[in-house]
């Protein structure tokens, strides 16, 4: 494939000087990665907000508190080590979600009812 690239935010530094190689090697000191979920207020679900590195759950929660709730953004924090998150494959999206598309009878609007019927 043609190699385009090369425009960056903050200064557009040419590629050979730009860094950002993609070869991944495992390093021995890197701490595990955690995903952070925050309940912004009582009564709402926890929502994924970002991630961070920490050695254990306690440190992950403490760091999440410092980074993600400096302005009262949350009342409760969940952390999950990223390796424990299992995700559906985006390539399967069609076979997973498309069958739902033709089951319109699952939606309330499928049913034509007389206008006189209220509160339904």
């Amino acid at each position: 494939m043609k190699n385009f690239i090369q425009k960056f935010y903050y200064g557009d530094i040419p590629e050979e000087k730009g860094g950002g190689a993609i070869i991944s090697k495992n390093t021995k000191t890197e701490w595990p990665l955690w995903e952070v979920f925050i309940r912004s207020k009582q009564g709402l679900d926890h929502k994924h907000i970002g991630s961070l590195h920490a050695t254990d759950a306690k440190m992950a929660i403490e760091n999440a508190r410092d980074v993600y709730t400096r302005r009262m953004e949350g009342v409760s924090i969940w952390v999950v080590e990223s390796k424990n998150i299992h995700a559906s494959n985006p390539d399967d999206a069609e076979s997973l979600y498309e069958p739902a598309n033709d089951k319109i009878y699952r939606h309330p609007t499928f049913y034509q009812l007389p206008d006189e019927l209220s509160h339904m």
């Binding site: 950002g20 070869i23 390093t27 970002g50 050695t55």
Partner: protein, 313 residues
């Protein structure tokens, strides 16, 4: 799926303004561009703490010290949001950081200028954060999902940065003669480097097209720079100060300001590593990283020991 159809799916998403998410197929070049751009952006947040950190212990009052501490802490957070977004593309945090320390990866060259007086802190908040905000507001609409979401969080925090900077200059601009001079001097030194933050002229950035097509970038350098000039040229009136540009003049027909020419030799020189503080900045980052190594190892070892103990019981 073959590469060809994957690429079509990818392009259709871009076309339809559907965000690209970490596990979606994407062209290698798209991944690489994002890694480079996001990591440079992250490095800029982190290195950007150095010139401002220089004044934390010498802030003129407790109030200003608290404000500056909060701002610098925000920048550390911005660095983290961005490093996290970058990691979703398959590069580790350590690699990204190593690239900064080795000089391979760049950061905003504005942070290679020194902060000589207290007024510089105000000027940075107003001009440097102001310029960053123009870029970042555009990037909330960038096509890579994690980058766009990081930008939304960052933009929410940035407006305090710019406002505290302007307010701090406003106080100086109403102060003694010496304070007024300090204010004007800081503006004089930070104005042109702030304009350089938007990158080379459109006519010279030959590679901008692909980033625009992929909607990583959504406005050109010159477009953003012009809006910045138009904004600041108005705001400075409230400070009763002057921008250091004789050619700055309102152009009625174009409905925008005309202004002078950036010193591009200086721009490329600083990028090449010859700015006033390039070496000092990287040295400070490397030192912090190296001196923290024993902590990183000790904390990891401790956590592993704890796990082993639990298993043993």
């Amino acid at each position: 799926m073959t590469e060809q159809t994957s690429e079509n799916v990818f392009l259709q998403k871009i076309e339809a303004e559907i965000k690209i998410e970490p596990k979606d197929w994407m062209p290698d070049a798209y991944r690489k561009t994002n890694i480079r751009q996001i990591s440079q952006h992250a490095h800029s947040e982190i290195v950007g703490m150095l010139p401002e950190g220089n004044w934390i212990s010498r802030a003129p009052s407790l109030k200003r010290k608290l404000i500056l501490l909060a701002k610098v802490q925000d920048e550390a957070g911005h660095g983290l949001y961005l490093y996290s977004a970058c990691e979703t593309l398959g590069i580790t945090r350590e690699e990204t950081i190593n690239d900064l320390h080795s000089g391979k990866a760049k950061y905003a060259s504005i942070f290679n200028y020194p902060t000589l007086s207290w007024a510089d802190i105000g000027a940075i908040g107003w001009l440097v954060d102001g310029a960053a905000i123009m870029n970042q507001v555009m990037l909330t609409r960038t096509s890579y999902g994690p980058y766009a979401r990081a930008m939304v969080k960052i933009c929410k925090e940035e407006s305090f940065h710019q406002r505290q900077g302007f307010e701090s200059l406003l106080v100086l601009s109403k102060g003694t003669e010496a304070q007024k001079q300090m204010c004007q001097d800081a503006i004089n030194r930070w104005w042109w480097p702030s304009l350089m933050m938007f990158g080379p002229k459109d006519s010279e950035s030959t590679n901008s097209d692909q980033s625009m097509k992929w909607k990583i970038k959504r406005k050109s350098n010159d477009e953003l720079r012009q809006s910045f000039v138009d904004m600041i040229a108005e705001q400075i009136k409230l400070l009763s100060m002057k921008l250091p540009d004789d050619k700055l003049k309102w152009n009625k027909e174009k409905n925008q300001y005309d202004w002078g020419e950036i010193n591009w030799d200086e721009f490329w020189n600083v990028i090449k590593g010859n700015g006033p503080c390039n070496k000092e900045r990287i040295a400070a980052r490397s030192k912090a990283w190296e001196e923290g190594e024993w902590v990183r190892i000790a904390a990891k070892t401790y956590a592993e020991k704890k796990i082993n103990k639990q298993v043993a019981v």
